[in-house]
Amino acid sequence: MKKFVLFCLIFIFAFPLSVNAVPYRGFTYNYWGGPIPAPVAYVPLSHVNASDICASLGSFNMPQDLHVDINGNIYIADTSNHRIVIFDRHLELINVIDSFYMHGALQTFNFPRGVFVTRDLDIYIADTENRRIVTLDQQGNFLRVNNGPEFGEIDDHFQFFPLKITVDNAGRQFVIVRGVFEGIMRFDPRGNFTGYFGTIQVSVSAIDWFWRLISTAEQRARQQLFIPTEFTGMDIDEYGFVFTTNLATGAGAKVQRLNPAGEDVLHNFTDIEIVGSANYSALGQFSGPSQFIDIVARGNGMYTALDRNRGRLYTYDREGNLLYVFGGTGNVLGMQRIPTALAVLDDTILVLDALRGEITFYEPTELGWLINEAVALLYDGDVTRAVEMWHRVLEIDANFRLALVGVGRAYLAAGENRLAMNYLRRGIDVEYFSIAFRRHRTELMRDNFYLIFFAVVGLAFIKPAVWVVKKVRKKVRPA
């Protein structure tokens, strides 16, 4: 009996240690668009609130934005505390900006919701309720202010409530403004409004269209307008292209990559749309489509989008392949309540939770690191080393389709047609499988040419031979 109890105790205490402590499960989509389990690519390392950085900071109060500059310092728009908190990657506090002198007068923030730091380390702050964008230097000294379009430039009712800001290397400012559906507002480096940038398609369902058709002009005037949703998040990549997210529910793209002309140039060579969760239930818990709230350009064409609905982070490569998914909703480490922003610090991903006032740091696992590395190597055109990475990825996750196809195509290029066929069949790449198979077939035919030749000739000679034998027998018998 004692032994049994001991055994039970060992079992109970040993078991939780042996399972992975990550509170979510990873998955990817297979060829048919269905989810298949995958090992997790990122694990939560720690969550950090204001008092972890400095005890006198108190706590973050509904922080809305997060940014990491080129030195790896972290900026938080601590919205309801009306301040900007700056600290470095070792969680050493650098600066807290809650006021500045503008033309000799002391100014404070009023619910600042967006923060961005340029390559020159100028801090742009979307000071939302003060209706202005303030530019400060690292010490918090005033540089510039942008009060939005001149009065009457758009219409008399317009009010400038900037929510998010991004600045390109030439100093052009891209601003998401509350209540503006025409697009992202673009300003030149001196703060002059130069026009709208990017649009979200409006989708009208057949039923809406039908009701609109049969309603009178008076009814129509009282109906809701078909207006696009607002942009929710922005980031700028190394080429000055702007990644954006929005809450479009219909046919419009949820993630866009806008070129300097404001056209969406996001690639997707896969059959699965870039919508985060590709199949979800319409009702019940965890239902509805993904709602992307922020996006971050990861370099090498990769980007990660944050889903507010399920607290998940979806990472895609430049061809639109879903690389990995992690995160979830909940209270434990690694889960989110109301995620509002994300940022990247080297390979670490930072997610800001407004409700808990915490930043979660996610670290890549070996799988995540290998995938990142392989994508980066492919982006640089170093296929040989990328394939080494894909091989190691397949050791961890044998279902990873991108790796199967990558390895298969590499074998095809190396002339290993038989091996290539094997990998390409598992990766369901019909086009390249066919190329590998055609080469393999030609090879087989060439190597066994004599065998095939004599078999065909032999078959062709059977009938005449039989005829000859019969004839000979006939001649022999009478004699």
Binding site: Y31, I428, F433, I435, R441
Partner: protein
């Protein structure tokens, strides 16, 4: 052995001489119900074989989407439903066929599909994606010939003209829809009756 030969002979003869063959099936009593079931079974097997073992150049469907039993049952259900509706329609429009003959005729028409599906599935493993067109051409031709044979079967079994048989096809599809509709209504009604009975029982039990 001789019996087996007889059973194979008629379907093959029907493929070459459909009108003559179906005449022999009906009027010379050469058609057998056992042969019909064997042909259906072979068709089912070759259909499943094609889905399961076709090369990825001709079939990329999800393996979990296949269910041999369910596929067979649904093919059989459609076959019986078609034969039943056809029988119902033709008995009202001076058809001479019995239900058994209609069912048998349809099963005998499967022969071209049985003969092509299996070899083409094997051949698909020798084809690239562009060459897979041959696979689909042959299968499509077999399906067209199957439809033609089923049509000839109806003409011969019912002793119809070509035009009347064509009209009967549309009437049969209509009859199939009616049967499905009535079946659904009956199911719903029975379910409600069952619920009613259960309700009464619970009311009484908890009094």
């Amino acid at each position: 052995m001789k019996k087996l030969k007889e059973q194979i002979a008629l379907p093959l003869y029907i493929m070459r001489h459909p009108f003559d063959g179906f005449y022999r099936m009906k009027h010379m009593n050469e058609g057998k119900m056992s042969t019909a079931f064997i042909l259906f079974f072979l068709f089912w097997i070759s259909f499943v074989f094609m889905q399961q073992y076709g090369s990825i150049t001709v079939s990329t469907s999800h393996p979990q989407m296949h269910n041999s039993i369910r596929d067979g049952a649904s093919i059989f259900a459609i076959l019986v439903l078609w034969s039943l509706s056809n029988w119902a329609v033709t008995s009202l429009t001076d058809g001479e066929g019995k239900f058994k003959e209609i069912f048998m005729g349809n099963c005998y028409a499967f022969t071209p599909l049985i003969l092509t599906l299996l070899p083409m599935t094997l051949a698909s493993h020798l084809m690239t994606d562009t060459e897979s067109a041959f696979f689909f051409i042959v299968i499509t031709a077999a399906v067209i010939y199957f439809i033609f044979l089923a049509y000839v079967a109806m003409v011969s079994v019912q002793n119809y003209g070509a035009g009347k048989a064509l009209g009967t096809i549309f009437l049969t599809i209509f009859a199939m829809l009616i049967i499905v509709f009535l079946g659904t209504v009956l199911m719903v009604l029975l379910q409600q009756m069952y619920n009613f009975a259960v309700n009464i029982y619970t009311e009484l039990a908890f009094r």
